[in-house]
Each structure stands twice: as structure tokens, then as C-alpha cells.
């Protein structure tokens, strides 16, 4: 670990600026705004998983009293993108729950009644519901125009395989020949949902000329504006998007569903239109994580050195292309220094909702397969599973499987910490099993903007463009406090709307504290420069004779000026005389986000008569770079662990033979409840990212990756039986124990 830097406020755990509003019920989420004269919008959804939509007629609904607008495909621009077709079905419906029409009415009850008056006819087609079915040569096609991308030559006939991707190095077959031990496995994971507690909701208020505003719960209101404008053929400058507080997203609120519908309905009705998905609609018609089928083969020498690794990864894209098979393929072997590997990945259309990002999209599925295979390899080699990973671990300078050499990374530090952690060194509880696994995510930078306003009393207002999901406003305030040298309490952070601050990409990819933080720091540096110049003007000295220290301007050492230091408040109070208000700003496209690695371990107990799993302990160790607000870093690690465990143990999309989701509610889509989990121990490893002023890496996504295999490996340890397919639900476990 690198030397600890002595920060003043970074690393402390102050109360978040939005906290009081959230514990008192004042915070306004997507559905929490009502406007005068507002209507309620509802969506009619397809009762079929795959059908030609031969007729849709909203005219009778429009005649109903209390109904002010009704729309269907005819109201949208021609030549839609896939996103446009997902927002509103055109010639085909491609999943059960696909939107086919929408109405706006004076009440929810009235809107619901109006849906029954919309006339539709369908020519039902057979649904394609599994990867095997979809990839078969004679498969029913979702899209006759889908020709597999990235092949050396474009194929001459369409298929459900939207794209393939390969990654390779060395010679795998030769590598396997060098191996003393080879393990192979075949792993299936069904679709799972992000399960944010707040359903999608928005209000659009659009005038006759197509100008107006949209209030919405989103991970990125600038990108929602861009996507909505594109789907509707509108001008982004005519639309103001305001991000409400957001009740969880985890990737699921990086794309739009309701917004274009609300905009069109509002424009037609000339009144504000509020739309809220029901929980059932969230499950049926927003984007879950891809279901996968992964095959892994790994060979090693007796000393544990991996000589070759091979992966075949098929991802369900849902109704439209775009499964995260690329990152899945790039992540699968990322923690390891491999000479010979080959990865082949597929983006496959099936009649299920179009998948969306879910925390480290693509990585949990492929890495579950690899980390399970490594557990088997360690058993065959009779080697400690952490030692096996350490033997092959990537470190600074290792050529990553996806190309470049890694800069400073913290995998080995995490493995070392795990090896001596009490959850690893203590005896495994009677009847339980212990599993370990490694997680990884790239993290990204991208575009961010920030403005820093110094108020007349020296307090600071930060305006940034990233919705705050997990406490990022607190992190922004901390980084600004550190940079400016003023107390945290003196700073407020605000998420501006699309008209009040510069463009920012979504809150996602673990980028906000990294990239938006970088913008905030630069904006603060801009302020410091201005303050120095104001102080110089006040004192009548040159700018280079002023320094900024502990939140005040002081004369540089050796400068002979008999002046008192000027605090931020002093300079702000006198701003009118020295050039007007103080406003700092920065906008950037942040590069150099640092990859983050984790090691998870868990003790699980299995009831061999019922297959029920008890989670006895869980430890998450992760290289977070510098932890700006450690409590929220721990929170990300704990939340990711809970989501990963949920996916491992009970969460799954269950479809009937017609492609109808059978568990579209929190009763049967079983996310972990409080009594399912123990306290989740965390250990933050801080290997600073050299590309960030304070060493931030990005934290939010890596935590969901390792729990899947850690749980599977613990159950293998507890029962002696390797169960390849998730979830490790009681019926699955009991069936596998009986088969063994």
C-alpha cells in the first residue's frame, strides 16, 4: 500500500447534505411532484411475447370523458431506432409488456379504464425464450434484418445473434497441452433485475410548440434529454430535464422508458402529464440484467500457474441488440496474468425485455463462471484458493486480457488482506462451507461539468450535473472542502437541471466521484486562482506574491506586505469592489479511471433436507483508491454484496412457456430482506489512482461481481457438490444434492 496522505477532511464521515430531507420525507423523488392541472398517463402493454402488431387504434379511448390524449406508434417519427421501438412497439411486439399505446386522463382510475378501450390485434408468433433456442440454426427470428456484427464477413442470412466478439492471446491449445490439470464447466444464470425500490416516474409539461420541461428520476438527465429528443425527433434545446431525487438505479435508470410518452401526451393534451410505472411494469418492461450461458476451460501446472484459459459466453440481449457481452468478455480473465487465452462472446436476441446496465454490466455473469472454475482448479491442485489467485494475479505492468498494461492496481493487496482476515483464518463453522472469489470492474471517466459559486458570506455552492444516488453530494463537498481549505459545513452541493449547468454523462460506471469530483476540484482551483488575484488587488501586490493556504489568501513567504490574511468570506464580502461575484467552473472529459478489484469471502450453511442457505458471514475487501467518504464507500460494498448474494441465491426471472414473466413482483422476485443477511464486513484497501488528484478509483460496481461465485464456492465447500447454475435456490440445491 502506498503512503497515507494526510488529508484534512477527505476520509472523514460527515452527514450528507441531502440527509435531513431524506429522513423527514421532504426529499422529492420521481413520483413526488404534482403540478396544477395535471393528468395521469398509463401505458397499454402487449399481452404477447412475440407477435405482429397488426392494428392499434386509440380513437375510442380518446372519446372517453376525462381522457385528454392517447398515442400509439402512429404518433412517433418514422424509421425508429431500436430505442424508439422499445419505447413504443411498431410492427412487432417483442416481449410481454412491450408498450403499444398510452393515454392521459384526469385520474389514474380514468386512465386505467381508458386503456380497455384501445383496440389492438396481433398475429401471434412463437416466442424465443432461451439462448439455445435463439442460437439454433432454424430459430424463429426476432428481427429479419439482424445480421451478426463483427464477423470477418457479414453473414448472408439473418440470425438472432446480433454480434460476436473475440479476444485472444497466445495459443490456447498449446497452453492446455502444458497443463497438468484442466477444469471445465458450463454455467447458466437467468436474467435478474436491479430491483431499485423506486419505480420509474416522470412528469412532462410541454407547450404547443413542443417546448417544456420533464421532471424525472434518472441516473443522467442530460442523457435522458438527448435520448428523448432523439426518439421524438425534437430539439434538445427545447427540453429542460430536471433530475428528481432518485430511488435507486444500479444501471437500470440509465435509459428511458416513460419520458417520450409523457412528452407526447403532454404536448397533445396541453397539460402536465405524470407517469408512474407500477412495480409489475418495472419488472416486465424495464431492462433487467442479461441471462447468460458461459462455458469455461482452465488449465494449470501443478504449481498453480495457469497455462491456458478459454471462455464461451452467450448473453441474452432481450428484444433488441446490446447485451453487455463486450465488458463481460473483457472482464472474465482480467484479474489474471495469462499468456494463452481465448474468449468468444455473443449478443443474442430473445423475446424478453431489452436488458439494461446493472452494476458492472456483464462482469458478474462471466466472472462467476471463471471464479467457480478456479475454485475447482484449486481443489484439484490441492491448493489454497487465495494462493492460486495470488500465483496468477495481475499487478502493475501486467498486460490485461483486453489489451493494455495495467497501471497501479490493488488486486494483490486485496488478496493479501483476505489471507489474514479473520473471516478467512478462523475455523469454518460446523456444517458450513467457505467460499472466496475475486471481482473486477474497469470504471470509467467521461464528461462532467461543475460550477462553484462563492456566496457573499463565503459559503460555497457547488452545482453539478450528476444525480446523487448514493451520497455523491457529500463526496463533492468533501473534495471541495479539501481543495478550498474550508470546513465541510460551509459547502452545499446541488444537482442542477439541464438549463442550469453544463453537460454531464450519467451517474454510472462508477464515474461520479472520480470524474465529476475532478471537475469540482478543478472548479475550486479556478476559485483559488481568482481569490489570489482578488487578494493581490486588495493588497496592491502581484498575483504571484499571494498563496492560498487553509482557506485564506496569505502573502507568499518573503513578500514584505503588512497585511492580514483574507479568508474566503473576506474576499467574497468584498467581491463587488474587486471584480464581481466569484464563480469557478470546470468541464472535462475525464480519462484514466482506475480499475478496481475485490476479494469476497462468505460462510454459508446449507440445510441438506430443504436446500435452504443461511448466510453466516460475508466479507468484502476492495481496492477503492482513496475513500473520500468511507461510510458511503462501505455502503457501496455492502449494497453490492447484498445484491450479488441475492442474485446468487434466489433472484431470477421465471418465464412460462409463452414468455410471460411469472414473478413480476417483490413477493416472488426475492431480493434479500433484512433477516436474510448478517452484518457485512468491509475492508477498504486504498491504492490511490495516480490519475485523480485525490486518488479516487470508483467504487460502485465492483462489489456486485464476486459474491456470485463466492456463494457458489461456499456451497460447494459445504456440500461437496458443485452447482453450476444460479440461483442457488432451495429447489435447485436439493435437486443437485440428490443427483450427486
Amino acid at each position: 500500500m502506498s503512503e497515507a496522505i494526510d488529508y484534512k477532511v477527505i476520509g472523514t464521515r460527515p452527514i450528507r447534505p441531502d440527509g435531513v430531507d431524506k429522513v423527514t420525507g421532504r426529499a422529492q423523488f420521481g413520483a413526488d411532484l404534482n403540478l396544477p392541472n395535471m393528468l395521469y398517463g398509463r401505458v397499454l402493454r402487449s399481452p404477447h411475447a412475440h407477435a405482429r402488431l397488426t392494428r392499434v387504434d386509440v380513437s375510442k379511448a380518446l372519446e372517453m370523458e376525462g381522457v385528454y390524449a392517447a398515442i400509439s406508434r402512429a404518433d412517433f417519427p418514422e424509421n425508429p431506432s431500436d430505442l424508439g421501438k422499445n419505447i413504443m412497439a411498431r410492427d412487432k411486439v417483442l416481449y410481454h409488456g412491450h408498450a403499444v399505446a398510452a393515454v392521459a386522463a384526469k385520474s389514474l382510475i380514468c386512465a386505467e379504464a381508458a386503456l380497455a378501450l384501445i383496440e389492438t390485434s396481433y398475429e401471434v408468433l412463437s416466442p424465443v425464450l432461451s439462448l439455445d433456442e435463439a442460437m439454433a440454426d432454424d430459430a424463429t427470428l426476432l428481427d429479419d434484418e439482424c445480421f451478426t456484427k463483427n464477423l470477418p464477413e457479414t453473414p448472408d442470412k439473418p440470425s438472432n445473434i446480433a454480434a460476436v466478439m473475440t479476444l485472444s492471446r497466445g495459443d490456447v491449445e498449446e497452453g492446455f497441452e502444458q497443463a497438468d490439470v484442466i477444469v471445465e464447466g458450463d454455467y447458466n444464470i437467468p436474467m435478474a433485475h436491479q430491483g431499485y425500490i423506486e419505480p420509474h416516474a416522470c412528469i412532462a409539461n410541454i407547450n404547443e410548440s413542443g417546448q417544456g420541461s420533464v421532471w424525472t428520476c434518472t441516473q443522467g438527465h442530460f442523457e435522458f434529454r438527448a435520448l428523448t429528443a432523439k426518439v421524438l425527433g425534437m430539439n434538445v434545446a427545447d427540453l429542460k430535464f430536471i433530475a428528481s431525487e432518485i430511488g435507486g438505479g444500479f444501471g437500470g435508470k440509465t435509459t428511458i422508458y416513460l419520458e417520450p410518452l409523457a412528452v407526447l401526451l403532454s404536448q397533445q393534451a396541453r397539460r402536465p402529464v405524470k407517469m408512474m410505472m407500477t412495480r409489475e411494469e418495472v419488472f416486465r418492461a424495464s431492462g433487467p440484467a442479461a441471462g447468460t450461458h458461459c462455458k469455461i476451460k482452465v488449465g494449470a501446472r501443478n504449481d498453480g500457474t495457469i497455462t491456458a484459459a478459454k471462455a464461451w459466453l452467450a448473453y441474452e440481449a432481450g428484444a433488441f441488440a446490446g447485451a453487455p457481452m463486450g465488458p463481460g468478455a473483457m472482464a472474465v480473465f482480467a484479474p489474471y496474468d495469462l499468456e494463452n487465452f481465448h474468449v468468444e462472446a455473443f449478443d443474442v436476441l430473445v423475446n424478453k425485455p431489452k436488458v439494461a446496465a446493472y452494476r458492472a454490466p456483464g462482469a458478474p455473469q462471466s466472472m462467476h463462471a471463471m471464479e467457480s472454475a478456479l475454485d475447482e482448479l484449486a481443489r484439484k491442485l490441492d491448493m489454497d484458493p487465495l494462493d492460486l489467485r495470488m500465483k496468477n494475479a495481475a499487478s502493475e505492468g501486467t498486460q490485461a486480457p483486453y489489451g493494455p498494461k495495467f497501471p497501479a492496481i490493488g488486486l494483490k493487496e486485496c488478496l493479501e488482506a483476505a489471507k489474514v482476515h479473520p473471516n478467512y483464518t478462523s475455523p469454518v463453522p460446523e456444517g458450513a462451507g467457505r467460499g472466496v472469489a475475486v471481482g473486477f470492474w474497469f470504471n470509467v471517466g467521461m464528461q462532467s461539468s461543475a460550477e462553484v459559486h462563492i456566496n457573499e458570506n463565503g459559503t460555497v455552492t457547488i452545482i453539478e450535473g450528476n444525480p446523487d444516488i448514493g451520497g455523491s453530494r457529500a463526496s463533492m463537498c468533501l473534495m471541495a472542502a479539501e481543495t478550498l481549505g474550508v470546513p465541510y459545513e460551509q459547502i452545499r452541493a446541488v444537482v442542477g437541471d439541464t438549463e442550469s449547468t453544463g453537460f454531464s454523462n450519467v451517474t454510472g460506471g462508477s464515474r461520479t466521484t472520480f470524474a465529476t469530483g475532478m471537475a469540482v476540484i478543478q472548479a475550486c482551483e479556478d476559485i483559488i486562482g481568482q481569490c489570489k488575484s482578488r487578494a493581490a488587488a486588495t493588497w496592491g501586490v502581484d498575483e504571484d506574491q499571494v498563496e492560498w493556504e487553509d482557506g485564506q489568501a496569505i502573502p507568499s513567504p518573503g513578500v514584505n506586505a503588512d497585511v492580514k490574511p483574507l479568508t474566503l468570506a473576506d474576499i467574497a464580502g468584498n467581491a463587488a469592489k474587486t471584480g464581481g461575484p466569484l464563480l469557478g467552473r470546470a468541464s472535462l472529459n475525464a480519462q484514466g479511471a482506475g480499475a478496481s478489484f475485490s476479494v469476497n469471502m462468505t460462510d454459508l450453511k446449507v440445510d441438506r433436507e430443504t436446500g435452504k442457505v443461511d448466510v453466516l458471514s460475508f466479507t468484502a475487501i476492495q481496492d477503492a483508491g482513496t475513500a473520500i467518504h468511507p461510510a458511503y464507500v462501505e455502503g457501496q460494498m455492502q449494497g453490492g454484496a447484498a445484491q450479488g448474494l441475492g442474485w446468487a441465491l434466489n433472484e431470477e426471472y421465471i418465464y412460462d412457456k409463452d414468455g410471460v414473466l411469472e414473478n413480476a413482483g417483490f413477493l416472488d422476485y426475492r431480493i434479500p430482506v433484512a433477516s436474510d443477511l448478517p452484518m457485512i464486513d468491509t475492508q477498504i484497501i486504498e491504492v490511490p489512482n495516480p490519475r485523480h488528484p485525490y486518488g479516487v478509483r470508483g467504487v460502485g460496481e465492483t462489489p456486485i461481481v464476486a459474491p456470485l461465485a463466492a456463494a457458489a464456492n461456499a456451497i460447494r465447500d459445504a456440500t461437496g457438490v458443485r452447482i453450476n447454475d444460479l440461483p442457488l435456490s432451495p429447489p435447485n440445491i436439493l435437486a443437485q444434492l440428490d443427483n450427486a
Binding site: 463483427n150 479476444l167 473483457m330
Partner: protein, 79 residues
């Protein structure tokens, strides 16, 4: 400098995985590559790139050195 393409771009480079080129920044590199394989610039513009180990989603103005290692890769987004 060394420029490396991933498998899915080989269809655009006639199967060449690695080339040596000279350019002072990334923008010039793209132009040089496009000269060699007309049309590839448009494809590469949609890629991320790693320059000496650092991943850039958009590297347009990044300076390059004679001994730089450049890997094109798929863009990463996140949740």
C-alpha cells in the same frame, strides 16, 4: 509506436493485428490509420483506446510518444 487491434476490428484491417506508426497525437494517428484502411476512422471513433495502460473513452487530443503502446478496445459503460 505500436498500435494493436482487437479481434473484432480485424475485419477492418485486413486481418492485421498490429502495426507500427508515427504520430504526435491521437488525432493524427487516426488520420494515418484511415489513410491506410479507408473508413476505419469512423469505426475507431466508436472505440475506447488504451494509451500506455491508461484507458481513454475519447483520446482525440492526447499526445503520443514514439514508444507509446496503443490498444483499441470496446467502449465500457457502466451501471
Amino acid at each position: 509506436m505500436k498500435v494493436v487491434f482487437p479481434d473484432h476490428l480485424l475485419q477492418h484491417t485486413g486481418g492485421e493485428r498490429e502495426v507500427e506508426l508515427l504520430a504526435v497525437n491521437f488525432r493524427e494517428l487516426l488520420l494515418a490509420l484511415d489513410e491506410r484502411w479507408p473508413g476505419i476512422e469512423e469505426v475507431l471513433a466508436k472505440c475506447a483506446v488504451a494509451i500506455d495502460g491508461q484507458i481513454y473513452q475519447d483520446a482525440f487530443l492526447e499526445p503520443l510518444h514514439n514508444d507509446s503502446e496503443i490498444f483499441f478496445m470496446q467502449r465500457i459503460e457502466g451501471g
